[in-house]
Assembly symmetry: C2
Homo-oligomer: 787 residues x 2
Amino acid sequence: NPFGEFSADGREFYVTHVHLPRPWVNVLANPHFGLVVSHTGSGFTFVENSQLSVLTRWQQDLADDTSGKFLYLFIPATGELCSLSPAPTWAPLDSYRCIHRLGSTTFLGKKGNVAWSWTLLAHPRETAELWLVELENLGPSPQELELTAFLEWNCGVAPSPRREFSKLFLETQFLPDSGLVLAKNHMWDVGSRRFGHWNTSYPFVAAFGADRPPAHAQGDKALFFGPGGSLRHPLALQDAQWEPAFGRHWDPVAALRYPVALAPYEKATLVFVLAAGKSRKEAVETWQRLANPEEVQKALEETHRFWDELLGRHSINTPDDSLNAVLNWWSRYQAIAGRLWARCGYYQQSGAFGFRDQLQDAQVFLPLEPQRTREQILLHAAHQFADGSAYHWWHPLTEEGLPSRYSDDYLWLAFVTANYLKETGDFSILEQEVPFLDAEAKTLTDHIERAFALAFSRFSPRGLPLIGCGDWNDGLSACGLQGRGESVWLAHFLVLLTQEWSRIFRELGEHEKASSFQEKRNQLIAAINQHAWDGEWFWRASLDDGSLIGSHHNSEGRIFLNAQSWAILAESTSRERQEKCWRAVKEHLFSPIGALLLTPAYTQPNPAIGYITRYAPGVRENGGVYTHASTWALAAACKMRDHEAVAYLLRTLNPALKDPRRSWAEPYVLPGNVDGPPSPLLGRAGWSWYTGSAAWFHRVVSEWVLGVRPTWDGLQVDPCLPSSWSKVQVLRQFRGAPLSITMHRQPGVARTQVLLEGKPLEDNLVPPEVEGPLSLEVLLPEEEIQT
Amino acid sequence: NPFGEFSADGREFYVTHVHLPRPWVNVLANPHFGLVVSHTGSGFTFVENSQLSVLTRWQQDLADDTSGKFLYLFIPATGELCSLSPAPTWAPLDSYRCIHRLGSTTFLGKKGNVAWSWTLLAHPRETAELWLVELENLGPSPQELELTAFLEWNCGVAPSPRREFSKLFLETQFLPDSGLVLAKNHMWDVGSRRFGHWNTSYPFVAAFGADRPPAHAQGDKALFFGPGGSLRHPLALQDAQWEPAFGRHWDPVAALRYPVALAPYEKATLVFVLAAGKSRKEAVETWQRLANPEEVQKALEETHRFWDELLGRHSINTPDDSLNAVLNWWSRYQAIAGRLWARCGYYQQSGAFGFRDQLQDAQVFLPLEPQRTREQILLHAAHQFADGSAYHWWHPLTEEGLPSRYSDDYLWLAFVTANYLKETGDFSILEQEVPFLDAEAKTLTDHIERAFALAFSRFSPRGLPLIGCGDWNDGLSACGLQGRGESVWLAHFLVLLTQEWSRIFRELGEHEKASSFQEKRNQLIAAINQHAWDGEWFWRASLDDGSLIGSHHNSEGRIFLNAQSWAILAESTSRERQEKCWRAVKEHLFSPIGALLLTPAYTQPNPAIGYITRYAPGVRENGGVYTHASTWALAAACKMRDHEAVAYLLRTLNPALKDPRRSWAEPYVLPGNVDGPPSPLLGRAGWSWYTGSAAWFHRVVSEWVLGVRPTWDGLQVDPCLPSSWSKVQVLRQFRGAPLSITMHRQPGVARTQVLLEGKPLEDNLVPPEVEGPLSLEVLLPEEEIQT
């Protein structure tokens, strides 16, 4: 990688170049607080909700990443100015390194005889961002430095581009004794049923300060910049005195200036805390508690320990080091910190829980801490209506949500619950009572049965599910607006779900429901195969006027990946047709940059299909690699036992293997999409961090490629490795038992054999009642016949 | 003025300083197209709607005004870089002047031996922005220059801060032969009932180019900036070759580079056109038609002629030159270009028609071109519902609107129509049929009667009108949410309206309606005087719980201006109480910076009152000078014949008399508000341009201070001048007759006398059937007794 590299253990990524094609960021979060920081030092901080409750201003501009919270370093003697991160001064440094790691980001730099380290993190338990700053005089002469911290207050909904209005409601205060700046907002731009619009106060107070009072403080942006100054070069840095302007009448920022005198070879440490509290008292107390080097060091260690310990519960060792780094550390960190906690990246400040999104993401916890998956399931169930439908998304903090007209949202509850049951065997969750948004509490089973009942009520006359205003693919937003368009992907999904829930009802002794679900499944399979088969593959959807998309009749959008991969995953068609589907996928959708979501991309808007056709061709869902769906294709490749395709998909999915000059995005996390043809930027990756593929990539590799997969009958071991892999190790627990699994190729073995203490396991299945710790040896055939 | 000055004729303002406290802008518009440009060169361009249909990107940041469309000047020989306006390079220039004038803005500059002039305007009739650029070599050596034009495409709703998403739908194209860049947007972020969200194309195509092809073109922002480059210093300017990146996959900008070789003392002229069309063909043809110096020069002259001619129809000459400049040129230009056509300023991109706002603004046309007022009245009537209510605002282009729950919106139709009738005598407007939003066309009278009927149905048991979610003062947004709070201002307003419409019905021979309106008026007056009198003034509103605001019982919001000034304007109380009201206004609300809207300002949010209490104290409606209401106070001062107060209000309202180091805002247009106590920035003016006070200031000065006022019986001449004014001239037309009115003080005259050809006019009234041209002489007493 020309711009950086992983540390040997994979937990750190060292960015060594300042001028990257696009910002490479880190999401530092705990479940209630977080920040995003790019390799330039730009970014933002939020509490509880990264859209509705953003503490500091940030402008999304990925071509000119100069917006955020910064530290200026000014040397009065020489007039030299730089910053501890490249932004905002962009002054050339003598050395630069940005270390993104799980839970922290550090900027290392050197300018002349001054070296520094600036580490940022979210406290693991507090609603506080911590900075640890170390400055070192490398030379034999004393140095008089001035360090100035700067941020702009937002304290509410972001983005907030109508600043002239929104700033009229902000209030800041400077406490000279402690050196703390406080900020609050008298107008939180969210709805209030009782008091009307613009008539609610932002419920948090923010506090920002160091472990010592600054020599000077400024609260107004224009005064800090000075006439003709700018963020890049604030003139106030050269002024001997500042006239502090805090209160309610300014363009509110916090600029705090600290003189730092360093004797020859001396080091100095400063600590900054940006805290949020429900009250001024809470915010100040959090700052007080944390604003010292020991506390910050402790928090840093606790954070690193937390991630090591959590993710260490399930680890793999493949022959591909970069894949190990991505899977053992980054992709699950991405899913947890980025998707479940922060719910944002640099491409999107969401803050909301997507009904289907964070449910799927929550599967990341299944092998680690399934209690957290359980909590997420119950949280989503509580955002369902009594008619079985759900919010498409809702915002924590305000509980505002968008009632969903999507055809699949509410069904993911059934999907993830089934997976939770297979991992844990904890059927008690089904009896857990959860309220509806509009009705009193019922059991989770009741919730899920209502979801199914609603889904079953939304079928076309010929027995295929209606697509409504979209299914998993949001962009198919108009196919079924008039109530006639159908979704073939959704049909496959329901085949899989009815199979799972038929089994669950069987486990529960509800045999009538079990067979009714089997019957539903059979009807669906019949309808799919009778109506949705296009000759060589399944079409994707029908429109309200009866025309098809994803059919060989279409010149654009001729074949869609999910309509094939899910036929295989759900086994909703014959093996022969599965093979045809798979051949079609490989022939039409496998491209040099990965498996495309559809092809050819739409080049002209088609309002009858939806906004997917409006994206640039090859971008996002419109014919690019949509990573989320590609992970499902990887599972399908394993089901088809297509080792070559497995190798290909692993290679194209692994962000660390992309050339960043072409892919632009971070090598350590998954991008949401990669440009497909006809984009002139073929292979460019976008929407990094905020993608459901992060959790899925790890899950599919673990369960399908390595094949260590919880089933109703136990933990299946059914690997489908790339042919070039000769040895793999897996550590995970199952039902509380730690397992150590070693797989290797063994000459003369015809099919995979799993040995427990040297003895073959029946059906390669670790029984659910296992007690550990156990060591399994998996013998793999030297070559497997390709289907 | 330390930062600039008016031209002798007042039509131009010369900004001579680059670093002003805040941007001083010009709004250049025709009824369908416009741009805003600040003295730094920053700004944006739109077509039809300055919120929903903005062509170029702009970030609202008044502390760092570096966002817009620019011209870079690069001298390859020396590597020197500057820009024709201060932004975006902020390179020091050897000379600088920005000339804002009605219909155009010009930047004059000089750097070394190169001088330039850059003029921007909106074509007076076409949807096109024109630039006229002249470069001159002042020296004896040849100069090789490179001029680069730059803008970012928006092509849709603004602001659009989620650029990573919105840019996925934009498409640009470069036509090398013509040198034109085309831009369109496949996703217009407005609702579509039929096709759902994000599923509509932006209905315009934009074209940008010069009168010649550029040597190089770039369509991607990151490529233009280069690694480590920025808007301030794009690295591409130093590259010999550009690899143009247009299409659908970039961060879309237009950068066009033109080499300009100047022989010693040579001048060169370049012309740029930014055009919008309903189709590509239309946009290209507009560019073709206009992209030459002659056309631009013609358009410039036509524009200047248009404003001279239009505004010249009504002019005044007072002893105060700056007031003449503001009133004869700028405030009406502000009302027409800024409020009625562009519907935006630098503080707000609105684009919508406010039901009450633009109706009031349209009064600016009454003495100029009343047909335009008539059209605006009928347009608003067409945005009324059959129940009498109306949209609070609606968006031209999409016709999206917000059904109003405000208690006054729909009544302004009655108000402005009455004023239209008094000016024109054109009662035919009342018979004009206009559709409702939800019902078929009825006459304008029918519309207005429904509005009254609705207003009359919304009264409290004691006979005062309910305030609902607010009245003229939007910020009183929660007083009456539960249907009990009352508005005293609205009561006064209804007293005035019932009086006017009683008279109109009388004119129409509808005597029953006339007396029923009189009766309503009497009941209102009785209720107001019985219930709303606070002892020394009228309280402003009651809340749902029955408590009062604007009462001497309140510690904050103790007295409100409108509850007093409208008692005088509507004559809804005895002369004695009017005098008490006026005394209270002067005692409590007259401050060194003008007449406050209320006092003391609210310092703590009170959700039961509304969001007015959330603004910083002294800012906007919360106890600052709200200019709109101050103009009404000026009318009231005239009614009270309080010459001293008239002088005071004129002085504090006149933006040209403010010290800009304290007021910050433009000296040539009215600000929406001025900071009152306890703001530490007492006297700071904000929300310039986008304020309803612009039209009102001119109207009140003409009709009340100069006293030349259309009434039901003719044109009243009833001046109430500041005592220091000894002579005033007025040119205006009345019912088609040009009038020249000269007023001067005459010793021995006891009361104002109006002479027509030397003979006194009865009641100082020019009869409606007058034929012109006429010269009137107005004799004023040397001193008038103050009330």
